[in-house]
């Protein structure tokens, strides 16, 4: 069914997306080091030497490289065949080194940060800002109040230099190198990423923000993030991604490890808006101890293919975990996302709320697992996955897996696939909203349960993106 007169607007297509994609083209950045394409042991040794790493980290990298070589490329999930692993630059180092104050940051870099909103974040008194320019952190600031509380917020490279004993204690304990091929690759070539350490009983208060950005064609980005919340600590970490345009596929394979100690609370919010030729294959996992609480809030809007299933291991009695996610699959996109909740201890609770939208031939897949081990009695888990399909060309699939080895548990699962109904569109149009705005409104309403958990500035940005994408759907 179509309305009497269509509003003709140019369709937003991937190739022309620049016009509406405000971050624009790849910025011109000088690299002090750009290795050969492809990966071998020699490059790994070079990376480690350049970073002046301790021997154990080099050995860890080399061991992970062997694991990487031994594992096949996953054949489930999305199509990874367009990734040419041999054509990727595995290490890039911008010509500028880390700057302490905003004044020292070169103008060209500043301009890019301007576009991705770092100064804005500064003005808004956010706790700390970390921007990642390819493989090194070029700018970072940490508010004095944080240091006074003993909170560490650094790049992983810095952390390895300054606090090697903490890094060594936790690195690879939540996501071991053998977990999957991409996690092994990350362990072998990781560079950058954030390190957050919150001491016992400290509530960080303001969210910690990091901006990530890939800025070189075919630059693989393998950042490594480690967050440790000691007993009773509380922290919210925000990772917002955005990338400029590229012509060939670029790989992003991050690993995020979160350790939530007794009664600690961690929220990890991600806004992923990679350009639509990026392969985003991420391993994220949290280890949650007694009465600890972990919450992942995950928005996936960009990339060609995203495969990401943030997990929580509920290891201590009374631990809680939550996953709220939004996936947007537009033209040429496949969002293969979900969550894993592993209940090891009694009276643990988990909740997964997943909302996906597919449009213009996009494909959204929910792939999730809930596992309740023997002995995890009194545990509860609730899974809600709602899919909204906006046209006939698009697709949505749900692959839930439940492995329950304990009788005294409660497991709920709801899955609803819906479309924007003609009644809803007519209703909103009869109030004066044009068709695409009416549709965007229904879509935003569908996402609202997750959006309300996202900080305001991100929610506004996501609403805007949804509106932008909807405009292309009319006609």
């Amino acid at each position: 069914m179509r309305y009497a007169k269509k509003e003709f607007k140019p369709e937003v297509i991937v190739e022309e997306f620049d016009e509406s994609y405000k971050l624009g083209k790849a910025d011109d950045i000088a690299y002090s080091y750009k290795g050969e394409r492809g990966l071998d042991e020699k490059l790994i040794r070079e990376i480690s030497a350049m970073k002046e790493e301790p021997e154990w980290m080099l050995q860890n990298r080399l061991a992970a490289y062997k694991v990487y070589l031994s594992k096949p490329i996953p054949t489930w999930g999305g199509d990874m065949s367009p990734i040419h692993f041999e054509d990727i630059y595995y290490y890039l180092k911008p010509a500028v080194t880390e700057k302490k104050s905003w004044k020292d940051v070169p103008a060209s870099v500043k301009e890019t940060f301007e576009k991705i909103g770092v100064p804005q974040a500064e003005r808004e008194m956010l706790a700390g800002v970390k921007g990642q320019y390819d493989s090194e952190v070029v700018y970072g600031s940490l508010k004095k109040t944080l240091s006074a509380k003993g909170v560490l917020f650094l790049s992983m490279d810095e952390a390895l230099k300054l606090y090697p004993e903490i890094v060594k204690k936790y690195f690879g304990t939540v996501v071991p190198m053998g977990d999957n091929k991409l996690a092994a690759l990350n362990t072998a070539v990781w560079s950058g990423g954030s390190f957050v350490y919150v001491p016992e009983g400290v509530d960080v208060g303001l969210p910690l923000q990091a901006y990530f950005r890939i800025n070189s064609e075919s630059a693989g980005q393998f950042e490594r993030t480690l967050i440790i919340a000691e007993e009773g600590a509380n922290v919210h970490y925000i990772e917002g991604c955005s990338a400029p345009s590229f012509s060939s596929a670029s790989l992003h394979a991050a690993v995020v490890e979160v350790v939530v100690k007794k009664k600690a609370r961690v929220q990890y919010t991600t806004v992923q808006n990679w350009y639509k030729n990026i392969y985003n294959l991420v391993t994220k996992r949290a280890w949650v101890e007694e009465k600890g609480e972990m919450r992942w809030v995950d928005g996936n809007l960009g990339s060609a293919l995203t495969m990401k299933y943030p997990s929580c291991v509920l290891a201590g009695e009374g631990a809680k975990a939550e996953m709220l996610s939004i996936a947007w699959a537009g033209k040429g996109q496949h969002q293969d996302t979900g969550a894993k909740m592993i209940h090891l201890a009694p009276n643990t609770t988990s909740q997964i709320i997943s909302k996906s939208i597919s449009k213009n031939g996009g494909r959204a897949t929910y792939r999730g697992m809930v596992r309740i081990n023997k002995g995890a009695y009194g545990s509860r888990s609730k899974v809600v996955c709602d899919a909204l399909i906006l046209d006939e060309k698009s697709r949505s699939d749900t692959y839930p897996t439940n492995k329950i080895f304990e009788e005294d548990v409660i497991l709920e699962h709801e899955a609803v696939v819906s479309r924007v109904s003609e009644e809803q569109l007519l209703y909103l149009m009869s109030r004066g909203l044009p068709e695409h705005e009416a549709e965007a409104m229904v879509v935003n309403g569908f996402l609202e349960p997750v959006m309300k958990e996202v900080p305001m500035e991100y929610a506004v940005e996501m609403n805007r993106l949804v509106g932008l994408e909807m405009e292309g759907s009319v006609g």
Partner: protein, 240 residues
């Protein structure tokens, strides 16, 4: 204000309206009565531009302009408003958010403040004895029948249309709710010179909202038109 001339409308190959003529002047209340299935609601659908209702002959003019090429939103922005018999639910969207978008779309020059709108909506809700708790819920989501009807009138009060069409607003309403709604509508007629087309099967609402003209529809055509005396007669002898 509204002129419907020899209107023939088809839904999925079936002719529903077979040559309807009807006029509504500014500030006039017109009651459209008739048995179930006579085509009353179809006329409302055709006026607002529901694309399922295909106009095959005749025309609908609003303020002297033909509406046939206009989409529902364009018609709404000209000042036509339908209070739906079965309003759709919009989960996750509050009535304020919806009205804010609608007002901003209609008039891009005037800056509509979200805060002012919030106050306006609260005042209107109070006048309609509508619980303010409903204002922060998804529009029509889990509302009772009466709440939905009142919410339709609330939106109308904020959007201030030139023509209000009420489709079976009285169904499922108790007397108090009906009186409240009628009073809120009558106020708009008096203060804004709003025109009203009341589509109803029963005379109940007409006890609270006195019509200037009563038209009777049967089998897709207007069979009778006159004053309020028609209502009394129908009340006694029913539709024949």
């Amino acid at each position: 204000m509204l002129k419907v001339k020899n209107l023939k409308v088809r839904v999925e190959e079936k002719e529903i309206l077979k040559g309807v003529d009807l006029s509504i002047k500014q500030g006039e209340v017109v009651a459209l009565m008739g048995p179930n299935g006579s085509g009353k609601s179809s006329l409302a659908s055709a006026i607002i531009g529901n694309p399922k209702y295909e106009v095959i002959e005749g025309k609908i003019a609003f303020e002297g302009k033909d509406l046939s090429n206009l989409t529902p939103d364009e018609r709404a922005n000209k000042g036509i408003y339908l209070a739906f018999q079965y309003p759709a639910a919009i989960p996750g969207v509050t009535v304020r958010e919806m009205l804010l978008s609608a007002l901003r779309t209609r008039n891009k020059e005037v800056i509509v403040s979200a805060l002012d709108l919030k106050k306006t909506v609260e005042i209107e809700a109070e006048k309609l004895h509508l619980s303010t708790e409903l204002l922060s819920r998804g529009l029509n989501e889990g509302f009772s029948g009466g709440e939905k009807k009142k919410m339709e009138i609330l939106q109308m009060r904020v959007l201030k249309p030139k023509l209000l069409i009420m489709d079976e607003i009285d169904s499922g309403l108790d007397i108090d709710a009906l009186a409240t709604i009628a009073q809120n509508v009558a106020e708009m007629v008096k203060e804004q010179k709003m025109s009203v087309l009341v589509i109803t099967h029963y005379q109940r609402i007409l006890n609270y909202l006195t019509p200037d003209v009563v038209a009777v529809m049967k089998d897709g055509v207007i069979v009778e038109q006159g004053g309020k005396e028609i209502v009394d007669r129908l009340e006694k002898s029913g539709y024949r």
